[in-house]
């Protein structure tokens, strides 16, 4: 068998690492997936090649995250490897060692936000974001669309690219009113520098193959057509599957395969998905087949019954009206932004972030400075209920000289404020500085 597309696979099941012995994110998670892939003979398909992950350094992680107290204290080797797996996925595609790549790594990353005090939704490091920042540093600027097909809202990814017009973030998820992390309404559209480039598509419980593919055809693909990204990343969570223990959706392995085929991502990254026996083995086989351009029509859960997992008409109606609302906003995003941000110098937003795994509550103020010649600086002031605090100043990659100067001045003045750490994240010069506050 020969793949149509040269596909690089980074399969790193981390068989010796778990969050804790009974945690869903444990050694066993990719065991059956690996068994299935081996039994299917994936290793013998021409033009599919396996690669080991890289290992993300502090610098790789600090390009994205404001880590408290520092990276070393927060992450394990496994986190560095999961992020390094995605770095490898970018390397393969951008150096043309492969046409497409898929990183099957764990733990996941899409709940990890810019500030990190600990583990949220099994995530500490945002693997895709670390990979993308590494790639932009190594290969230059690029327009990227991240399509998050995990059942949970990709709130970490949303936060990281909230004000970045060069990174379009689209997240499908089970409506936040019915599922962790509770965020992700249609109305969360991005910061003043990238308004409308954060696209949330909250779906009703019970959405099936039909509904997901409807959203893909009527929302995601048209938006991508408009946006014309250089790269498409699929944040390939697999917990929309009908067997997932944590969610309530009706998506199937066949549905995931079709979605991946039509979305045609350059890079896919495993996110969540904890039906490790009933879903992951088949969904991953399907995604690999679709990415490689192979026939996936025979990939089904062995016990699949179409009738059982068909979405109801009611769900279908809801999906259609959500899709309509999202696409309407997409077309009007510039008008709304103009109205919203007219004559403002700074946009501020207050947030509370709960770290469910670590049990920490964070209070955050984000300030986005509007600049006519660049996406503008942003500043995060954060403290948590354990007495930690930090100020993070970020210079975007495309910052103008004025904004850059302003950031370095702020870095000096903030060191006189009552805060544990002041962090300067200069994405333009790939420099990270840390100082203590007063």
């Amino acid at each position: 068998m020969k793949a149509k597309n040269r596909l690089g696979l980074i399969l790193f099941p981390a068989f010796d690492w778990a969050i804790s012995p009974r945690h869903p994110e444990r050694e066993e998670r990719l065991l059956y997936t690996q068994d299935q892939l081996m039994e299917e003979g994936i290793e013998d398909i021409d033009r599919i090649e396996f690669f080991n992950p890289l290992i993300a350094t502090d610098q790789d992680i600090e390009r994205v995250h404001l880590a408290y107290p520092d990276v070393e204290a927060l992450v394990s080797e496994s986190h560095r490897i999961a992020a390094g797996g995605v770095m490898q996925a970018f390397d393969l595609v951008l150096s043309n060692k492969a046409e497409k790549s898929f990183a099957l790594v764990r733990p996941p990353g899409h709940h990890a936000q810019r500030v990190v005090y600990g583990d949220r939704g099994f995530c500490i490091i945002n693997n895709e974001a670390v990979g993308l920042a590494y790639a932009r540093q190594k290969y230059g600027d690029m327009r990227v669309a991240i399509v998050d097909t995990d059942c949970h809202h990709g709130d970490g990814t949303e936060d990281i690219y909230w004000n970045d017009p060069d990174t379009l973030v689209i997240s499908f998820h089970q409506d936040g009113r019915t599922l962790y992390p509770g965020t992700g309404p249609i109305s969360d559209l991005g910061g003043p520098g990238a308004y409308g480039y954060n696209v949330n598509i909250p779906l009703p419980p019970g959405t099936g193959d039909e509904g997901f593919l409807y959203v893909l055809e009527h929302v995601v693909l048209p938006i991508l057509e408009d946006y014309q990204p250089d790269l498409i990343i699929n944040s390939a969570g697999q917990d929309n599957h009908y067997t997932d223990p944590l969610t309530n959706m009706n998506f199937s392995a066949q549905g995931y395969s079709v979605l991946n085929d039509r979305l045609n991502p350059d890079i896919a990254v495993l996110e969540g998905g904890y039906s490790i026996q009933g879903a992951l083995p088949y969904v991953n086989t399907g995604i690999i087949a679709a990415m490689a351009g192979l026939d996936y029509s025979g990939i089904w859960e062995p016990d699949y019954h179409l009738g059982k997992w068909k979405q109801t008409d009611r769900v279908g109606q809801d999906v259609r009206s959500i899709a309509e609302a999202v696409i309407e906003i997409w077309h009007k995003k510039e008008e709304i932004a103009q109205e919203l941000f007219r004559s403002q110098k700074k946009v501020t937003r207050q947030r509370q972030v709960y770290y469910d795994t670590a049990g920490i509550m964070e209070h955050q103020t984000q300030e986005f400075y509007l600049c006519p010649s660049c996406p503008g600086l942003d500043v995060i002031r954060s403290k948590n209920d354990q007495g930690a605090s930090l100020v993070g100043i970020t210079v975007p990659r495309k910052a103008c000289p004025d904004c850059q100067t302003k950031a370095y001045e702020l870095f000096e003045t903030e060191q006189r404020s009552r805060v544990k750490f002041v962090l300067l994240q200069d994405q333009k010069n790939d420099r990270f500085q840390r100082a203590t506050g007063r």
Partner: protein, 563 residues
């Protein structure tokens, strides 16, 4: 006394070893029309004048199965597959003797959909008029649960005498390879059995009691009964014979080493890691069929002493084709051997013609004869060294699955080279230069393959899996499918695996000192069931390492290049 015989593509080599010394050797061209006669003739020549009761074992590396496959002189095999859902591999090459049936087993070994007996009856009807000698039956995930394969076998047991079941051949997961392996096993089964029976009869008539072992591609041996059951294990043992021969004839230093066998047509590379051979990740490939037959890793370059040397568009090229002997040995085309003769590193039978040919070609390209000869040899060294680099890069990039392995970064880095083959001595300095490593080459390697065959010991690899939720413990290689009673921990599972491997080794005549068993991999996984109870999924891979029955006393001394 041990008798070792290696039947290669052109020659058959034999050796008689007494303790650690070579007593007698034999070499003759193979009679392609009668392999049995070739082997028997070699054996008779070797034992002439010896006391037959002193023979402890007879070890054969044969091309019986390999040739049957390569020359397509195989049985007509009916293939019945139960692939379940998954990737659509094409098995069209089996033609009309291929049937798919429904029913499936999942990755845990749980039956999901059962066999439909109607389909089996239909196959029996449709095949009743087809000449079919043997059956191959393979179910996806059958190594996790062989019940369906057994059920199908039972259904057809009165229709066909030779039935191969996929799960018996390897404990590894890979359905397409299991299919090809089962097919090949069924296809050569009769040919090999005929040979084995003929050989056993001849031994009886000659009053030889010694047990017979057959060399496998993994550098180990299997007893004759085992080989009759799994003849596919006997394919492509040639490189293994050569590898084991080199191991017997060269120094051991406990480190990573590169072994190079330079032949007439090809140069074969092997690697030792901490002096232990490494294997092909899944199995060997024969006639473009990828199998689960375990094999020593080797990489073959189309470059040898008789490779065709010429210029194309101003570029000096060597190989990959061979157009016959070197001019120095009566051939018509220039070869690296001629360059070595020109440089006085080898003696040729027709040295003058050979020198002349070098000079003519050199002149056409504005070189002196000496320059061209040097260029050819240097180029050969470069080609080998570039291939070694590529092979190492590939092997060192092999996927790992644990944090420990990734962080430990165990790269293979040979610190010396062992060299055998016709031009070994003449090329030692060149290879030493291009690879920058010290070289060791034996004085006499003419019957290295027969020595390798003689000294190889039985090997077994097993893949144990235990699942405390389903209460099963399986070792497909040994046909073990047990019900588990009570709990099981990793230490107990490892101990069980070791006991089983040792038992298998002892059954094949290994003494305690010769066993050299090891756990290759062992892991235990917590499985959380629906009631949040914790069950265990345990996997252990264990083996008898391929190695030498005894170490050989080296005669004729060592040759070593200086650093």
């Amino acid at each position: 006394m041990i008798i070792g015989i290696d039947m290669g593509g052109t020659n058959i080599d034999g050796v008689v070893l007494h303790q650690d010394r070579i007593l007698k050797t034999f070499k003759q061209p193979v009679d392609g029309s009668d392999y049995f006669a070739s082997i028997w003739h070699c054996l008779e020549a070797l034992i002439e004048g010896l006391d037959r009761t002193d023979i402890k074992r007879i070890q054969l590396s044969t091309t019986i199965s390999t040739n049957a496959i390569v020359e397509n002189k195989v049985a007509q095999v009916g293939v019945i597959l139960q692939p379940g859902p998954g990737l659509n591999w094409s098995y069209d090459h089996f033609g009309e003797r291929l049937k798919y049936i429904s029913g499936s087993i999942d990755h845990r070994g749980s039956p999901v959909r059962v066999i439909d007996r109607k389909e089996l009856r239909q196959i029996r009807d449709e095949w009743s008029d087809l000449p079919i000698d043997a059956l191959a039956i393979v179910t996806k995930f059958s190594v996790r649960n062989p019940d369906f394969e057994h059920e199908i076998e039972k259904f057809f047991s009165n229709d066909y005498p030779d039935i191969t079941l996929g799960h018996r051949l390897s404990g590894k997961l890979n359905f397409p390879r299991r299919v090809e392996t089962a097919y090949l096993n069924a296809a050569v089964s009769r040919t090999f059995r005929t040979f084995a029976e003929q050989f056993q009869q001849a031994l009886e008539q000659a009053d030889i009691q010694a047990p017979v072992y057959i060399l496998k591609a993994d550098g180990g041996t299997i007893d004759l009964e085992g080989a009759i059951e799994k003849p596919v294990e006997t394919i492509l043992s040639g490189p293994a014979a050569s590898f084991m021969g080199m191991k017997a004839l060269l120094h051991e230093n406990g480190n990573d080493r590169l072994l190079i066998d330079i032949g007439g047509t090809t140069t074969d590379l092997f690697l030792l890691v901490d002096d232990v051979p490494i294997f092909e990740p899944l199995g060997i490939t024969i006639n473009q069929r990828k199998t689960l037959v375990r094999a020593i890793f080797s990489h073959s370059i189309g470059l040898g002493g008789d490779s065709y040397v010429r210029f194309e568009e101003g570029q000096l090229l060597i190989g990959p084709e061979r157009k016959g002997h070197a001019i120095a040995f009566g051939g018509k085309h220039l070869t690296p051997t001629d360059a070595l003769v020109y440089l006085d590193r080898l003696k040729g039978e027709r040295g003058d013609e050979s020198r002349e040919a070098i000079e003519v070609l050199a002149k056409e390209h504005g070189l002196s004869g000496h320059e061209l000869a040097e260029n050819i040899i240097t180029k050969m060294g470069e080609m080998i060294s570039n291939t070694v680099d590529a092979v190492l890069e590939k092997l060192n990039g092999s996927p790992v699955y644990t944090v420990r392995e990734l962080m430990s970064d165990r790269t293979i880095k040979p610190d010396s080279i062992g060299l055998v083959g016709g031009p070994a001595e003449a090329l030692a300095e060149t290879i030493h230069q291009s690879l920058g490593l010290p070289i060791d080459y034996p004085a006499d390697f003419a019957i290295a393959n027969a020595i390798g065959a003689a000294l190889a010991k039985p090997t077994v690899e097993i893949n144990l899996l235990a699942d405390t939720e389903r209460n099963i413990l399986s070792v497909p290689e040994l046909g073990i499918y047990q019900t588990l009673r009570g709990s099981l921990d990793l230490a107990t599972a490892k101990q069980f695996a070791m006991e089983q491997v040792k038992l298998a080794g002892q059954t094949m005549g290994l003494s305690k000192e010769q066993l050299d068993t090891e756990i290759v991999e062992a892991s235990i996984f917590n499985m959380l069931n629906d009631d949040y109870g914790v069950e265990k999924n345990i996997r252990v891979r264990a083996q008898i390492r391929p190695g030498l029955l005894t170490h050989l006393q080296r005669e004729g001394g060592y040759n070593e290049s200086k650093e």
